[in-house]
Structure formats: C-alpha cells, structure tokens
Symmetry: C2
Subunit: 928 residues, 2 copies
Amino acid sequence: MATKPTKKKRGAKKVATSRKRSSAQQKFVYDFGEKTDGDSSMRALLGGKGANLAEMARIGLPVPPGFTITTEVCTYYYENKLKYPPTLDADIRTSVKRVEKQIGLNFGDPGDPLLFSVRSGARDSMPGMMDTILNLGLNDQTVQGLAKKTGNERFAYDCYRRFIQMYGDVVMGVQPRSEMEHEPFDHAMEQLKKDRSVQDDTQLTADDLKELIQRFKKLIKQRTNQSFPQDVYEQLYGSIGAVFSSWHNPRAKVYRAKYNIPAEWGTAVNVQTMVFGNMGDTSGTGVAFTRDPATGEKVFYGEYLINAQGEDVVAGIRNPQPIAQLAEEMPQSFKELEVVRSKLERHFKDMQDFEFTIQEGKLYMLQTRNGKRTGLAAVRIAVEMVTERLINAKTAVQRIPADSISSLLVPIFDEAARVRTKTLATGLPAGPGAASGHITFTAKGAEDLVKQGKKAVLCRVETTPDDLRGMIASEGILTSRGGVSSHAALVARQMGKVCVCGASAVVIDYERRTLSVGKDVLKEGDFISIDGTTGEIFAGHVDTAPSEVTQVLEGQLKPAKSYTYEMFDKVMRWADRYRKLGVRTNADTPGQAKQAIALGAQGIGLCRTEHMFFEGDRIFYMRQMILATDEGDRRAALKKLLPFQRRDFNGIFKAMEGRPVTIRLLDPPLHEFLPHDSAARNAMAEKLGVSAETINERVNALHEQNPMLGHRGCRLGISYPEITEMQARAIFEAAAQCLTLKNKVPVNVEVMVPLVGYADELSHQMAVIHRVADEVQKAKKVKINYLIGTMIEIPRGALTADEIAEHAEFFSFGTNDLTQTALGMSRDDSGGFLPQYGELEIITQNPFASIDQNGVGQLVEIAVEKGRSARKGIKLGICGEHGGDPESIYFFHKAGLDYVSCSPPRVPVARLAAAQAVLREPGTPQGE
Amino acid sequence: MATKPTKKKRGAKKVATSRKRSSAQQKFVYDFGEKTDGDSSMRALLGGKGANLAEMARIGLPVPPGFTITTEVCTYYYENKLKYPPTLDADIRTSVKRVEKQIGLNFGDPGDPLLFSVRSGARDSMPGMMDTILNLGLNDQTVQGLAKKTGNERFAYDCYRRFIQMYGDVVMGVQPRSEMEHEPFDHAMEQLKKDRSVQDDTQLTADDLKELIQRFKKLIKQRTNQSFPQDVYEQLYGSIGAVFSSWHNPRAKVYRAKYNIPAEWGTAVNVQTMVFGNMGDTSGTGVAFTRDPATGEKVFYGEYLINAQGEDVVAGIRNPQPIAQLAEEMPQSFKELEVVRSKLERHFKDMQDFEFTIQEGKLYMLQTRNGKRTGLAAVRIAVEMVTERLINAKTAVQRIPADSISSLLVPIFDEAARVRTKTLATGLPAGPGAASGHITFTAKGAEDLVKQGKKAVLCRVETTPDDLRGMIASEGILTSRGGVSSHAALVARQMGKVCVCGASAVVIDYERRTLSVGKDVLKEGDFISIDGTTGEIFAGHVDTAPSEVTQVLEGQLKPAKSYTYEMFDKVMRWADRYRKLGVRTNADTPGQAKQAIALGAQGIGLCRTEHMFFEGDRIFYMRQMILATDEGDRRAALKKLLPFQRRDFNGIFKAMEGRPVTIRLLDPPLHEFLPHDSAARNAMAEKLGVSAETINERVNALHEQNPMLGHRGCRLGISYPEITEMQARAIFEAAAQCLTLKNKVPVNVEVMVPLVGYADELSHQMAVIHRVADEVQKAKKVKINYLIGTMIEIPRGALTADEIAEHAEFFSFGTNDLTQTALGMSRDDSGGFLPQYGELEIITQNPFASIDQNGVGQLVEIAVEKGRSARKGIKLGICGEHGGDPESIYFFHKAGLDYVSCSPPRVPVARLAAAQAVLREPGTPQGE
C-alpha cells in the first residue's frame, strides 16, 4: 500500500483500537523462562524476537530467562511525550525479581551480579534499530564480583569495557562527530594499544582494561557532560529508552519506508539474562539456518566462533567456522544443535535462522526467526516442505513471495566467472537477469553487432523510442540517467531484458565513444557485463546462461531433467488451483505472446499498436501520415501501413489460438513518432521530399506543454477517424484471414479505445469500428467474434463509468496513466521528489510500482461499481504496470476484477500472487 | 454544463419521461386562431414560436390561424427511423379543416386556395434550422385561382415561383454543388433576365414568371430526378419533414453545441395561414422591438418595408424604413402597432421582438419572442421594468445574464472614431474592453513607452511570465498565437486587461519589427487599436474612455451623475439581497485588491505569490535561490527575498482591512523562473558570477516532461522547507507589522498549501508554518489570526479529503488543475482537439471555462462531503477560473461551498450569478 495502512484506519475509526485501553488494565511486561507468558502468535505485541523467545521457552528449548516490554509501551511512549506508563516500573522490577529467583543471582549484586542483555524487537526484524546492549548490570562494584566469581579478572573487565562502549555509543550518543572522525571508543582503544605498544586487543591485561575503562568514562563525561551511570536500574532504563528512540532514527525510517512498515507498530524491548560465549574454549557462539538460505537445500547451514560473543560473529573481525566444523570441536553441543534444528523446523514449520551461545559446554538459544532467503530458496524450501509433509500446498503458496518465482526464470551469471571480474559501479536493478556483451552507444551499433553474431550491451545516457530496435537487439541495457520507471526500465521489463539504469557514477561520452567510472575508461566494443538483479556493472565478460525453466519451456531441456522446472511447475499448479483472477499478458508481438502462453498467460490484456510503427519502412509511412495536411494524403499513407498492421495482428492471432486478445488503438501523441534532432529531421525531409522547414513547422505545431495530457489516445482517433478505420480494418481483415484458413484459427478480439473520459468519445469511435467490422465481415463472408471496450485511465472515465459502460463491453484499467492523473504526478518527473517523500514517510511506496489503493484505488472501485451497475457482467481487467505487482494484484482481486495483465516475464508472478490474494482474504481457511 | 444535460438523465432515469407515453394517447397537433389549444407556458412542447402564437391568439392579437405540430413528433420521428406517429395524419387534416372553416377557404381549392406558411420552432430560436416556406398550397391549378381571386396574375405567379424556389431548395435539396456554383434558382432567374434583357426582377411579366416556373421545375427534375409535387398535402408533408431534417443539419448542431441545447429537445413545426405584405402599397411587413435592444432605452424600435414579404426585410435587398416612419405612411396601422407593443410588454413582461404583416391595411401578428439584447440593454431594461413595476427585483436579477453586468465596466471605443478606422483582422476576444496605443513587440518597449507618457499595445506571438511587467504597462495585449486560455488571456483576465489573442491572420516579425496582415504592414510605434469584447483589431488610433462605473468607483465621477452607475448599483444591491455564496477575489497586489473591494469582493480567495518574484531585483535573488546547490546558499538568497515578500503582504493586508486573505505558497515549478533563451541565460550567468554551463545544467536538470504534473506546489515546499519558512515568515511578520501599527490594521490570513494529494504533505508543511507563526508571534508579542488550509486541485486530494481535513482548516478548490488532472487534459494543449469535440457534440462547453459538473463536479462533491465529515464547519471555497463563470457558480452554490473567488473584474458577475443561483434552485418562489 502506498500510504501507511493505519493512516486509513485512523481516519475511519478513531477509538476502538486495543491501544486505547486504559493503561492501568494493560500488561506491559511478559516473562519468559520457567514462567512464560507469551507465545509465537504474539508478534504484534512482543515483537518477533520476544514472541519467539517465549515460544522456544514454551517448547522446552534452553532459553536464558528474561522478559519482554511490549510494543504498546513504545506507542505509549511516543503518544505521551516520551513518558512511560505509570505501572511499568513496578512490572519491570517484578520481572527482574522473577529472573533473579530462577537464576539465583541478583541484579546489581556486588558479589555475584545478574547481568542482562537488552535487545530491540519489532514485529519484523529491522535494520537500523538499536541492536544489542550486552553485560548490562556491570558497574565499578559488580565488575569485581564478576571477576571474583569467574576467577577471570581480565574477562570481567573486558565485559565491563564492552558494556561501557556500547552504552556510551548507543545510549549516551558518543559517536563520531564527522565522517572524518574515528569511532571515539575504538580510537581510545587504539591509543591505549599504542601506549602499551601492543598489536592485539587480547594482549591488553586486566589492568590495561581498567585504564581503558577510565579513559572511556572520561570520554563520555567530556562528550556528554554526564557520567556513565553506576545504578543498574538507571542502566536498564537508559537502554530501554535507547531502543525506543532508535525506532525513529533515520535508517529505521528509511527501512520502514522501503518495506512499508507503519511507524505505529512500534518496537518491543527484550531483557534477557546474559550468557557468555567468551568464557574460554568450552564456550562459543554462532548463527545457523535450518536450511541453506541461498539455495534452499536441506542442509544445516551456519557458522560459529569459539570463545566469542555474538557480536564477534557479526562484526567479522575473526573468521567464523562453518557449522559442520562444530561436530568435531564440540560434538556434544553439535548433537544438541541438530536436535534443536529439527525441533525448530517441526515446530515453526518454516526455515529458521537462530542464534545460540555455548557457555562452558552448555547450549543456550538466544533467538530464532523465520530465515530470510533468496527467491530461489523460498521456492525450494516451500516445495520440499510440502514433500516432507511439514506444510501443505496452500501454505506453500502463501509462503513464497510472489516475486521470488521470477528468480527461477532469469539468466544468471556464472558465479565463478563473476567473482573474478571487477565491479565497476552499481546502478538501479531495473530488469532482472545477467547480460554480458560488447559496449555500444547507439541502437544501430547494437544491431550491427548482432548482425556480426556478437552480443551487445546498449549503453546510453537514457533511451528513447528511437532506440527500440537497438534495445531489442541487445543482451542488456545500461543507462546512466533515469530511474526504475524510465523508458529503458519500462521497455526492459516489458521485453524481459536485463537492465541497469540510472548508474550515475557512469559517465557516457558519445563523442569520445567511452564509458568511464572515475579513472576506469572503457571504449566502444569493450566487454561489459551487467546484473539487472543486483544493479552491478562489471568491466569485462562474464558467462551467462538462460534459466533452466526457460530452457524447458523452449523445449531445449526435458522437464524431467530439471529440478528447477519441477519446482516451478509444482508451484504454478498449486497457484492455479486457488486463484480466481485470470492472468493475461501485455504483448505486442507473436514472440512475446508465445513466451507468455508458455508461462501460463490466458490471453493478451494489452497489445499496444504503436511499437508496430517503428520498424523498417513503417516509420516512414507513419511520418508521412503525420505530415499529411489533409485527409486524402493521410489516407494514402495509412493505406501503406495497413498491410503491415494486418500482418502483425495475424501473427498475434495465430500465436494466441483463440485466446482473447485486447488490442489498444494508437495511443501516444503523434510527435513521439517524429525525429527530435535536426540531422534526423533533415534526413526525413529529404526522404519525404519536403523542405526541412515543413518538418520543423509540423514538429513545432505538434509540440505540447504536457504531452501526457495532450492530443493522444482516442482524441487522435476522433481528430483522424481514418487512423481508427485503418487499425480496425487491419484487425478485422487479419481475423478474417485466420478464420478462412484451411486449418481455421479461432479469433477472439477485444478492440480497446484508449483515454476515454466521455462516453461520447467511445461511441464515436465505436461507430467507426463497427462500420469497418461490418464491411469486412460482409466482404470476407465471416462472422468475427469481437468486443469493443475502453481503457479507464483518467479520473473522469472512472467517475462516469456508468455512462461509458452503456457503450463499452469491457473496461481495462490503465493504472499507469490513472495514477499519473489521479495523483497529478508525472511518472517521468517524479524522480525529483518521490525518494524524499519516501524518507519523510509521506508516500511509502512508489505509486507507479504498487497501486495507490487509497487514492487511485478509490477510482478503480468507483468504476467497477458504476460499470457493473450499467452493464451487468461487463468484463473488467487491468493492464497497467501494476498488473504484475503482488500487492496490487491483491487489491485488484478484492476490487472484483476478472483478470490482470502483465508483461510476459511477470505472468508466473501474477499467477502466484492471484492465488495468494484468494488465500489472504479475511476468513479464508488457512493451510499449514 | 459541459456535457449535454439529458445525457446525465438518460443514464439515471430512462423511462419516466412524458415522451414515453403511448403515442395513441398523445396530442400531436395544437391549434391556434379562433380555437387555441396552447399558451406561452408550453415552449417545450410547441417551441417558442408556436407557444407565443398561441398566447397572442389567446390575448386577442390578430394572428392568422394555423396549428403547431409538437416537438414530440420530432423526437418520435428520430426514434422511429424517420416515421411519423400513426395518428398524425388525421390530426393534421382535422386542423387544416378547422383553419379552412375559420378563413372560409379550402386547402388545394383550385378556385380560391387556402395557402400556408410552414416554419420551424424550437424551444429556443436557433439559427441553422429551416426557416420558412411560404405560399404552400400553390400548384399549377391553384395558382390560377389565386390569380383570378386577387386579380393580379403577376402576383400569383411570383408567389408560385417563390414557393417552388424555396421548396426546391429546402425540401428537395436543389443547392449549389460546390462553393464555386451559384445558387441554381437564382442562376435560372438571372438567365431569364438575360434572355429577356431586363435588369430587375420586377420587370419580369407574368408570362416571364410562368416561363421561369417551367425552368425551375425542369431544374428540380434534372437535379433530383423527381417532379415538384402538385399535391398540396404532399407539399405540406414534404415541408414538415424538411423542418425535422434541419434539426440535425451541421449549422444547427454547431449552434446547439455552442449554446448547450440538447439534441433531444427537438423542434416543432408551425403551419399558418398565409398573409401577404406584398399586395400593393397598402400592404407591408416589418420587425420591431418593444425597446431598443442595443441600449435598452424605452423607445419603439424596428423597421418595415411597404409591399414586401417578411423575407425581404431580413434579406436586406431593399433598405427598410425605421418604424417611426410608418406613423406617416400608415398612421392607422402604426397606431394599432403601438397598442400591440404595449399589450405585448404588459403581457409578456419582457422586451419583445415581433414580426408583423399588413395585408391591404389589415395588421397581422406573425411572431413574438423575448428580444435578444446587448448586456447593457439587458441591465437597463430589467432596471427600468422594475421602476415601471412591470417586474420585481427578483425577476430583474434573474433576467440579466450575469455576464452582462461586465459590459457596464469595460472601457469602450468611441463609436464614431471606430467606424472611421480600418478593421485589420479579428482574433479571439480574450479580455473585454477597448485599448488603443503604440505597437511594441517587447515588454521593455511597453515600459519605455509608458515612461515617455505614451500608451502601448504589446504585440507578441505569445506571452510568457517574462512579459509580465510589459503586460502590466500596456493598455492591451495582442497575440497571434494561443487560445482564450493562453498565458496572455489568463493574465489579461486576471488584470482586467484588454486582450485579443490567437489572431492567426496577424504575422508578427520580431526581427523586422513589423506586424502585418496580408499586404497591410504596421511598424513598431504605429498606432493600433484592439477591441477585446469583439476581437477586432484596427489599424490606427481609436479614442477610448473608462466605463462610467469605474469612474464612479474611482471617485472621478459623482454617483448621481451617472445613470450607468445607478443601474449597476441597483442590480448589485438586489443581487446581494438574495445570494448566499460569499464572493472573494483572486488578487496578487494591493491595487487589484482595492479594485475588487470597490466591486464588492469580501476577501481575497487566492493571492498568488509567484508573480511577486518577477519584479526588479527579486527575480535575480529568486534565480540565485534556484541555482543554489545547498540549503545554506538557498537560505541566503531567500533571506534577500524576505523583505520584498513582507512588503507585498503588508500592502495587501492594509488594502483588505481585516477581510480574509488566502495566500497560496509558491506553486509553479522552479524552471518557470529561469530564462529560456541562451542570451538571457548568459546574461544571468554573468550577473550571478557563474558559468553559462552551470546555468544550462541547472535549467536542463529542472526540465520536465509534464511540468503540470511535476515538481511543483507543496512538493517544492517539502523538498525545500526553507522556501515555505521564508514565505510564512514574510506573511506573519507583515501581519505583525499591521497589528502593531498605531492605527492597528486587523489581519485575517489563511495560508494555503498548494497541490496537496496526501494528508501528510499538508501536515509536513503545517508544521513548518505553525513553527514560524509561533516564533513571529513570540518575537513580536502579537496574536495573529490565521488558518492553514489547502487547495484541492488533484483528484487524490478530493478522494482523500477526509484525511486531509483532519489537518486542513479550509479547502479551496483549484478547479483549473482539478479539471486538467480529472480530464487528463492539458489546458495548453487542448486547443488541438477541443474545438472539434464541440462540433461533434462530445464536449459541448469548454471545461476550462465552465466546470465539468458531471466529472470534475463529482470530485468537488466528494471532497465537500468527505471534508465536512472529518471537520464540521470546514471553510470551503473555490479559486479556479470557474469562480467567475455563472453556470459554474450555480454548481458551486448547489455543492454547498461557502464562497467563490474570481478575478476583480468578475466580482460583480459573481455576485449576480450567486443571487441567480439561489433563485434558480428548484422550489424557490419565483418573482415576476
């Protein structure tokens, strides 16, 4: 959703949320350990970490006891001017007592202190949040108790200095004051090592560490004018406050914006008894996955460090060992971990990512959560868990992020070749997959390379429709300017081309024919490789291969030979079992149509006809038509275009074999077909036999202030009905050809009139189309199965859908333009402010990527209701870019559309998302 | 309304119209004469002409008897494949019998035939419709009877040949086959005169006319392959059919489109006994008005011809005599006419335009209708009829087209001077009034002329914001390109400047410094005069004077000295008595504000701040701000702009004396402030001390594909909150200055955030504004009365108005942009197709002139409802151009807005239209 979901709620029902219960009635602290109050279903209240700690405790896994302060406290804190609920303090003290009792130690006891870790824990794990404070409860007194108790003074003071460092940094805000400055605590440490002339932290003695602690405290005092707190409860409250504060730090905000997490969810705080992985060689710590998160393979995957604390694994200072190694180093612990691994999977029924610590041979579980995984792994894990009967198909369908399925379809770089090659720069990943080829800076260059049997990567500052043939010829497209909605990106997605766009570090010099990044200069013809999944750009060649699924679908590989295909096929079958939305494709050529059918498309939802006018002589006739000053000349040029269009449609009808084909009549403003630079204009003038002035005049006359809102769509067809007539004739004559073949090919065509805002626009165009249909049917003695409908793509069309539906036999929502008009926001120009809107949480999701349900969505709902009120059973679809976006598909499902249409490579995503939409509906029985 | 009103109805309630009564029950023919079925209230059924013929018969005026075939027959005819209702024929024959009986003649009687005229008669009179067929009932037999009966063979055959000519042309379609061909009947007449070697029609003898009749018949046969019908009923049905057909001829359609008359209304047909004004010197015919339709003065006004038929008066072949002359030529008839004149006015209570014929001394009334009149006459007649107690004030308010009131306000050409001067060309009337001055082609030229004490007319191909100061300096603005919504036209309307735009015949050559139309070449400095009310352009000087109303309002003329002012004042007082809508003005300067207050504005509904940045040094600092690459530089430039803005606001607050002032924060995209040609850019680079490249880069970076949908409005304020901050500071500091003056000036300011689509955009900007307000109030120790609200100008804003109203204290509908976005139609680019849409009756009214109630109106209604649901009592206004359009004002009244805001010269129009809106509401007691 484009706006934060709770915003909507806030407007609608302001009172009846559980948060508004009187705080006196609320339970703010949930224990876990011998007594466990929560469970894994309570993520919203306890955060993911807290809920799962409770669940682990509940199923008997060795969890160090502690308690969770709920997300409601975070909300309370922000709604009440950074104050805590009055009852919180008492609750915390009660829980501390409970832990003291279970462990047999006391918090702040100078003799043998109970120590805590404090961790944040939002509903979903979130980078940018305050992570962890360890060893809380140490002070100048208790550190001596710890030293005595463990008999390891150095260990105790190392714990203390680490605590001071973390606390000073995170809670007291002692941080570098500029990008130039070193981390001040690290700097103090380095200074001490220099003073002591040692290389390594471990060479520092307990006394050195005592000195370091003094220096740390002094640093804190200097920087904050406050002393490091000796009171352990003050330490605890400071840490809790720091967790809550970090909920609104910039990185967390950016992350929430990106992943659409409402600020209102808040974070919980987990306070847990410390265990130590750094108490010698019988101690250690590690992170593990129940399956391989990259490939999904069912192997125990992870890493650990002996004699280390958790942060050491993450920090990457020492190289951790692969988990298998533990079987040799600590066989007993490894055996226990294997049990835990299996228990976790059986219990949570999903791949788990967990943290553990071994303290003097005893295993403790510190965290578990559903593991993040690649798209490929998501598919494999879900499929195999069904085979293992851990989950059923319904759950598997819900479990696989719909986008993941495309990772089975993109060409991939050979991993070994990739790591050998230099990463030059990174741009925006705009068309997933891997491409490698010779650098070319022109569309013609790309075509020439392909004619020579070479692979091309078209590198442009930005692309225009003139580059189309070059883009088709290229393996991939690289641009230095333009976002994920730029022309390059749009075309790439449509054609399933690999594309990296907006690589601003890349300087493309057309004159010198070079592409450079800093001092690295590549020349035209040099090899370059781009990864459209990651945005990486490599200098040189990297081998690629098409996905196995593609190879199977294209008949180059037997299905039985490909496990990837088997998985793909299974998931698609499951999806088709549940989904109610039809899935069509946006395809302009027979090739695209065939590809989409192989991927499961049930028809064409959008066949654009304008791309058809760029090839070969067509653009010449098209320009002749545009330059014509009267209807006669226009008709003469159109007559020459007719056979081309007829052939195009014929090819598409044959490829579709009777499936519905929605053909949109000419849509873009005419000036898009004219050349923009004077050289090309002069060439055109010469070819057309007119003066350059004539061309320039016409180009100037066609210039528009806001072409998006200009003379385009059905407005063209109304100004020049002969264009509509020619297109209709091409459509119906192509259909007639198919129907009169010896092996008759059925045809099911839906003629779509674009940009209708007034019912009479449609009826005007329908009269032309029906007339031509009648003429062709009579002349060819055939009955053609056709409908006429319209795109709903401007607000007025949606608002007057009842009037339009008196004529239209179908609607297809053009949500790209509907978004631009409803939001008053040009897709091409939104790059100047949309990123900042994301940071400010004003618009949290790009409305061109995922439909703005609250705004544009209302127009869709209005049009659906009005359309059906005027014509029961009117066919309703959507053919904007949103047709391939899972969140949007869920919305379209709820809105009651009949189908979505998306680019061929998105068809599997849409099938899966459509199934998930059904299963997501409230009240649908869930799988497991 | 932008779409045909019945369209809307058709969707809504399809059945329950009276037209759907079974045709058997319907009365299709209404008599008038001794027996009269209809009256003047039945315009919808009988058409205007038929209803008034009936009414005249009813009140005893001498109407030749006849009957009216209703508009329902027209509708039936088109809904039933051009067939008549089955009962029609019998009804017509019954009515013919009734007329025969009253007159004592028989239709088709060879001895003494009854003759008819057949005339169309729509609800409103409509050019383009078939007008009249006279002498129907003549054939080869009856013509002889007529000759015998009148003893005037030549008269009879002249009547017959005229009938054949009209019938052949209108009913049988014998018309010129190309623009080159002469009218064929005229041609035959000329040929005969040549054969007979005579100059004048009247020189032809009865035998000549018989020969002519043969030639006419032959012509008809040749052209149509049909004979001229001898059967009189065939003649009658042919004529009735021709009337109905003419309802759908192109000219009628264009007229309906222009005046928004639904095609479904249909026309009636009037069949009336012929009377002859051409039976000698005791006969005659004329057209008269009960008052002067040009000035409104209460004098008998009209003209007549002795021995002529009605068409001769209209055709202008002979010069008619002024009506006063009739008192001498036919004193008795003149006396009768004076009685008729007074009876008509007393009965119809409005100025009448009537036709009469005197047949051998006896007066017959052929038609009466409410007379068309100029705006000035409309006002004067209404005002004087109230004085005469013919009507009351309520009726007077309803009677004056709201636009008419402006005709009392525009400067006018001296009529005598005007007719002496050559009309050079005609453009679009874009800013009413008259202006005369020296031609200048540059803004600077205009300023220089004014400095020299000369008057300037700025002549440009088109204008840009750079021309603003020149436009202000000029008397009038003439452009050769751009429609009534072009920059020139908009600014002219806003400033009340005289403007003629889009005069395509005018060629402006900036290099040669000439303005030419064909061979007429004017040089820079030559005199030119333009009439922005008519669009006329005169070569040379024509004297002008400001309107008397303006002179009174500006204190240059005593109110008592001006009858025009007295009328204006009366009408405005009446309007204010009834209206409920407040009327504010769109004003950017103290001068405009004062002008608007004088005209009755109750506040400023839109004070645009962008114009303020063009004057003098300001544009320099503005450009410095735009070119700044960081916040620091931007703030430095803004700091320099602050005092200018503060002074502007101070002036406006003082002028408004505590009335509400809505100030819109910066709205247009920043590139509008940068120069567009390279010379200006270089100059700017030099002045700013940066390289031309820097400027070009920034200009290019700011370039947008669709600036209307780009980085503008609140999006600027969010990207650069320091701009909002500066503007807020200028506003509040100016307010504080007013409040702390010795003679304290109260301030009531409404800060308006533009282009809000998301509630969070507004809350972001509100935080900045409130913070600055707090700071200023604290620093200046004052309490400032202010509100913060937003423009609702993009569909999403309207659709989520409930969310926005949680923050906004007022909404102002920006219907210009709301129209552009809701219709997906750029105002600047719509000229390419909107005119054609009008001709095709797809969009019958320019949606930028009068609000599209069915589309954009829905968004307004949604926003009103949602806005009030979230904030009861939220202040609602409208500040788009539609705020000055009477039809739109009626809509805004119905939608429940609190006020409309329009340009200063439109304020009186809006006051009057707002009163009319109240009186137009269904169920409102009507005046008389």
